[in-house]
Symmetry: C5
Subunit: 91 residues, 5 copies
Amino acid sequence: MQIGTVVGTVVATQKHDKINGAKLLLVQLEHPDGSARGVPLLAIDSVGSGVGERVLVVIEGRAAGDALGRKAAPVDAAIVGIIDSVNVHEP
Amino acid sequence: MQIGTVVGTVVATQKHDKINGAKLLLVQLEHPDGSARGVPLLAIDSVGSGVGERVLVVIEGRAAGDALGRKAAPVDAAIVGIIDSVNVHEP
Amino acid sequence: MQIGTVVGTVVATQKHDKINGAKLLLVQLEHPDGSARGVPLLAIDSVGSGVGERVLVVIEGRAAGDALGRKAAPVDAAIVGIIDSVNVHEP
Amino acid sequence: MQIGTVVGTVVATQKHDKINGAKLLLVQLEHPDGSARGVPLLAIDSVGSGVGERVLVVIEGRAAGDALGRKAAPVDAAIVGIIDSVNVHEP
Amino acid sequence: MQIGTVVGTVVATQKHDKINGAKLLLVQLEHPDGSARGVPLLAIDSVGSGVGERVLVVIEGRAAGDALGRKAAPVDAAIVGIIDSVNVHEP
């Protein structure tokens, strides 16, 4: 899984039936220290997260479909947790 | 999922039976601000999208096959929505 | 899916039972304009393609296994079409 | 699979039901010689590993869900072994 | 699939039950000409390969589990063939 922060939303009225009603959030992936990395991606929300929250993201189709709780949903990323803390143990 | 714009089409007369009739579109992935990133990829259309439209792309086999609505279709990317707006909340 | 050209073949006498008889082709991935990108990969042929042909490649296990038409085949890339034309619509 | 070392933990009280109770560890991937590479990722522990241990990581949804032993769990990476030794045979 | 050479072994006494007994090999991926590329990865052997042999590697969970012949095995890469020759047809 990856760490990220919800930074936006996407509206798509015309979409595949199986993702109707799903909340599409734009997530900026981050290093454990909170700095951004890479390009923001779109993830389906499964835990009631919103803009500004630090979240746990799964990036893989089966896992994302499972998060949405719909069989055969065409999704490949999902938010599956809201992160309280990241603890890095320095060696 | 990823954000992209349909930039072209691909014609392949001789193809696997399970993807006969599927519409193959060339999609340029983009940053949320609309600038291009990476190499265009080929995706199966599942929502009636066309050249010039900004779309929602899933990149993963199971998800793409689900989008096409055919079991065991050999596809790995699909267009699953037409994007109305991308809203980035600046911190 | 990706665009590529078949650039070679690989012979592997000793291989997993489930891929016996499969044709292994070396594919150079390409940009839409035909220029090479990245490292050539090995794909199972499912459409009777050969060296020099421009092809449509799926890169994902389930999809590739489906292309081969064998359940539980340990493959992760397959050629699923022979490309006639790639049409890029300049904005 | 990949080689890595557990470098931290993540706490997420609010998470998807299917991953409740799962231990989330932050893993730094490594070269065989132990030097770090890339960004630390989050993996579900399936073998009782902890901070400082060198581990075997699978990065893929089906495999990670299998490691957790729960069907339809939205996870994409898991620790599946504790490494005793890595032996590189120089040519 | 990818081309690589087996360059080492990994010992992990404490591992997930479903991969007990599996042979873990360290594989250096290669360009068709045999030069190394990227970081060595760990793959499950399914064809009796050993250090120094040039092999065919699948990198994907379902395919790797299929190679091992165990349902629900948490693996994501497997050696599925021993390569006799790679033939690149220069244009």
